[in-house]
């Protein structure tokens, strides 16, 4: 069976993914969701002229001559605090004490900072002039009605949520975080912390992949580990599919015939296809759509490093597409190899490495076999070796994927 190139496989996955339906969420639940429509300012931001400082609203011409030697004294006609909604008018020759963010009185055209005064209550002594407009924030100087605040496809983090809140958007139309369910399969699996006999191993993939999905911005469920019983595995998958936007299995997709329980269980459905992808680690892959909601399912290989790399390469982009984002994140960069690297002919290799971001050099780690997870836990980048290349000396420029 010919191997499928990595890019072709990824493109096939992306083409099969339908973005999630749009949902309206209250602001407090919007963190990590993705805006589904261009979002504009409906009102000016700020909504009214206000003071940028604590001080005194004045007519600038009244204090034009003020200096330390020749201060100007003005009677304080009123005081206006932030949140005060009373409309006030300032007449020339007077001032109004004003707090940061408070509504600027009609007639005032400058604010004298309190630091330039004696902080008076009945009258105030002003020792510096200010030009018209000083310390005033004009309505709409951040955004005018109709201005685009954020385009569709923006993932909402703190600053984005901040501007939407400031503009009064209490409910947002978004694509929510995808719900990812992770299922490990295999008779060999035992729970970490339980006793073990030779032939058995502790399950690491479900814990690792659940964390990876969370890191990729998804909500995560770890399904109980499944033994190698096709009917039970299929039932678990169908059950989980009903409440998932992505299903991820690990194990059971190799060349072992009836022992490959995931392959055996899903092959009869006809909607999941299995193939060899020209990559290392991670060659045996399966992808398809299952259940009433056509939930995307990824059947990842059981070797931990293979499963992790497959998640980064295929599942994380799919999660992005589900949210209406482009598949690829900006995590690729060039770096210089600090040691030699090798790769099998015809496969794209993803070697674990330690990237020094400052010097731009990347050191391949020892222990690159697909079951060797200890080096993965120390890596902060994957070194990409293209398909035709079998070895590279130290000093060569390579592409690296920074790990999140």
């Amino acid at each position: 069976m010919a191997m499928q190139p990595v890019d072709s496989y990824l493109n096939e996955i992306i083409a099969a993914i339908t973005p999630l339906a749009l949902t309206d969420v209250p602001l407090i639940e919007a963190d990590g969701t993705v805006l589904a429509a261009d979002t504009t300012a409906q009102w000016p931001l700020p909504g009214f002229d206000n003071s940028a400082m604590d001080g005194y609203a004045v007519v600038a011409a009244d204090v034009a001559s003020a200096s330390a030697d020749n201060p100007v004294t003005l009677p304080v006609a009123a005081e206006v605090a932030a949140g005060d909604t009373t409309a006030r008018t300032l007449t020339a020759g007077r001032c109004i004490k004003i707090m940061t963010g408070a509504l600027l009185p009609d007639g005032a055209d400058a604010v004298i900072p309190v630091e330039w005064t004696d902080d008076g209550r009945e009258s105030v002594v002003i020792t510096q002039p200010a030009s018209a407009g000083h310390a005033i924030r004009r309505a709409g100087d951040d955004a005018k009605p109709g201005d685009l605040l954020l385009p569709a496809g923006t993932r909402l983090g703190p600053a984005q949520i901040g501007v939407l809140a400031a503009a009064g958007h209490g409910v947002l139309r978004v694509r929510r975080r995808p719900r990812v369910t992770v299922i490990s399969t295999g008779n060999e699996l035992a729970e970490p912390g339980s006793p073990l006999v030779p032939g058995r191993i502790w399950d690491s993939n479900s814990y690792m992949l659940a964390s990876a999905a969370r890191q990729a911005g998804c909500e995560t469920t770890r399904y109980p580990t499944q033994r190698d019983e096709p009917d039970a595995v299929l039932a678990a998958i169908e059950h989980a599919a009903a409440t998932s936007d992505i299903l991820v299995t690990s194990g059971g997709v190799s060349m072992g015939g009836e022992h490959d329980v995931v392959k055996a269980a899903l092959t009869k459905l006809g909607t999941v296809s299995f193939r060899k992808v020209a990559m290392q680690p991670g060659m045996p892959q399966g992808f398809g759509l299952i259940g009433a909601n056509a939930t995307p399912i990824f059947t990842l290989p059981g070797n931990p490093v293979s499963a992790f790399v497959s998640f980064i390469l295929f599942v994380a982009p799919a999660a992005r597409v589900l949210q209406g984002l482009s598949a690829q994140q900006d995590a690729r960069r060039q770096a210089r190899l600090a040691g030699p690297a090798s790769s099998p002919d015809g496969k794209r290799s993803f070697l674990r490495g330690i990237l020094d971001r400052e010097s731009g050099s990347v050191t391949p780690l020892t222990g690159q076999n697909s079951h060797q997870i200890a080096s993965l836990a120390r890596a902060n980048a994957l070194i990409v070796i293209p398909e035709p290349v079998t070895s590279l000396p130290a000093g060569e420029l390579v592409e690296v994927l920074e790990l999140p």
Copy 2:
């Protein structure tokens, strides 16, 4: 009042923070926590010699002559699947069918991949030889007992959780995610989505800061917005302190005297100090410890951009120290200004910019006033302009902080 330099203020904060107590958490809750002790392998990883492929366990010498023209045929004495714990012994002249991850039979010294055979059941036709050790993973080739898997102070992400699971650690001693409570204060604040009159604004800070705390790896609670009533604000702060590892307020710390409710409420406690920090945005700052647990409290300024920048500079490092990490994250890099930048003399400025990671150039955005949150929502970096510098032309190298 003289302004305090940014670094001196940060150092003061860091010195006052005591890392969280150690807790034991089950693996499923360990995501995002920080290992509190060096963690070693207690058993070999893998725990037993096993097959790297689906195929046939053989004595390598038996198949040394195998070729497509002259295949070697061996009787299949048994079959061993992953998870099978029966000890088997291979005698020369025979083979044992074996699956990926399955226990290697005694006496076998190579595995012939199924692709090099006719996949026979009773007997198998082998068309390629293999050297001793082929496709075998030796016990301990990933880690030996006593090997350090991860040092204390490692934040646990997917790969780290994976290796700890694989090594059988079901419970981990960690410092958990800090619990951060965010409280906005101000009579001017209304809930986003509610109607507004001039003088009032929609609260953005509590939503923004809650998201920022989550992004910084914390668990977040958004406390109801408080009006400018000192007793109520103090009660809210003391109530929240009992269940928080960090408290963050915004607003009420300016120069407005009794209108600065946070300052007014906390000053009488005597454990929180207020100062001007030589930075823009974000000059008015307060920090201290409150309540029975000496909970760190940050009283951030109310301007949204000031609050955000203060969070990045002071609160996020404090959260890291609470988890036993070093204060600074590796988010600083050099970039070349794509346009001119200016800064007030004597203050360190943090200008919003768009960093092009590939070209290494950074463009300052328009709208740099501290209330202008629209530009913050478009920025992916803060451009750092040192205290003595008042203007920089395009083309200068500057330090930038990449936003998370």
